[in-house]
Symmetry: C3
Subunit: 203 residues, 3 copies
């Protein structure tokens, strides 16, 4: 799509078909932050599988062009918070997805970092993800995953295991494009054979 | 009922039947605060449909005489908090129900105002209302509705859409009369063909 | 088991069979704090039924040797918090279970005391317990029960009624042994015909 509209004539054709607002949102590249929070992955001891699993899942979902802003960092609250602020404020990510660091262990501080940088918390995300994971393992209640809003950016915590990442994203993603609309982010379009985003008609 | 007991002879008959405590609670008019939080409704751009939907639903539920204390205000945290404090502390409302302002958008601050004025938060209300709304729309997780206690007043946030208001109230109202008993409020009686309040036998 | 390994020869046999780490955890007596929060039970007006119900349930669950550290205290935030700190920091309890004080009434302050002494809150416990109790009573949403971590101790709030205590423990206990593993506590073993603890294979 971006290639197509870079040609001025095609752009004119394209503008005739869709509204300026949508056009504006489409021609600005959508950026999504992906943070793998893991002491061992950041030290190179583990391969960064969770981060890649998130990018792969988002590629499956989204038909909109998008660009990942990618980071692997240790379980340090200040580093996680700093990465989130940079991705939200400087890089302009409309969505930041984290993996890992949501358990009860001493080093698990991803929800704390999320709460620190957000103005609004969204408890419904954590509730639904835990409920979803409870279908598979009773230890789902040990996950403290949450979500929140920093200005125009939605931040969502996911678990660290690739299988659980997909289960959780499948559960909450249908609400994410509309959430991003509501915080004045870009218009995300999805492959509806993979995931069905929901936008209320009145909006 | 109030009409009936205003006659002194009837009052005597009535006192013979029920305890003084219940009588005391019954003859003081029950007040319920209804706050429609909406920039557009408060500016007169929209009709105040949510506020009316709440009053109508409570009329359907309650057989106790009650009086609404009604307000339409913009999405301003301080104004919402001030209205809640006035209704709780000055007007003596046992229950305050809000509509709107619970989403992720910048102007949505009703949960923040609620948290500000309450001593105790009641997470079970938000959890159940989101779960109920999830049966209808996946975007239910975007609602940050909550509930809390300020002294002898229960404050409950509802969504802004009339259909969702009724769904949420139907889900949580069965617990509300007992909750108000526990915070020393008046004894609410309901039309049990419409809604079944639950009071544990030991109480 | 403890009797058996107190004999040096038996100990040698035993060591051959299990890892040193497990051995170390097994020979240190497991302590679990049980706090019945109740003005009336602490004043001797009520019998302490909830506290006994918790001990009985844990005896049903656990095959590991364990020792209760037991306390009945009034609904005073500071006293509850002090008891929790003592059980966690001085007594070395890996788990503290409270009953009562989680409702909306003025004297109900157990969740506040819990939040005060914990570094990390575990919202999944309260969510699941309320959901479980909702199968029986609609007033389950009035319970503000929560859980959290203080250093190497998991603290879990339960309701005050014996029937509800068992229902809630049955729901969350399968996740507790693994949670205690993650916070470097002792290895809890259960009678799997009564309760099935879950430990992910990768752990």
């Amino acid at each position: 799509m971006l290639q197509f509209i870079k040609n001025a004539d095609n752009l004119k054709l394209y503008i005739n078909k869709i509204s300026y607002k949508k056009l504006f949102k489409r021609i600005i590249m959508i950026k999504i932050g992906v943070i793998n929070v893991s002491d061992r992955a950041s030290a190179g001891i583990y391969e960064d599988i969770p981060g890649k699993a998130i990018v792969e899942t988002l590629n499956d979902y989204l038909t909109s062009d998008w660009e990942p802003v990618y980071k692997v960092i240790p379980d340090e609250e200040d580093e996680i918070a700093a990465a989130m602020i940079k991705m939200a404020d400087d890089e302009g990510c409309c969505l930041i997805v984290t993996s890992g660091g949501t358990g009860p262990a001493k080093r698990d501080v991803t929800p704390e970092a999320t709460e620190k940088v957000c103005q609004k918390m969204m408890p419904g995300f954590g509730e639904l993800m835990r409920q979803e994971s409870l279908k598979f393992v009773p230890t789902a209640i040990l996950s403290r995953q949450t979500a929140g809003i920093r200005n125009n950016t939605l931040i969502v915590n996911l678990p660290g295991k690739p299988k659980a990442i997909r289960e959780c994203l499948d559960a909450v993603f249908p609400a994410i494009p509309y959430c991003i609309d509501l915080i004045d982010g870009p218009f995300l379009e999805c492959d509806e054979s993979v995931i069905k985003p929901f936008r209320p008609k009145s909006s």
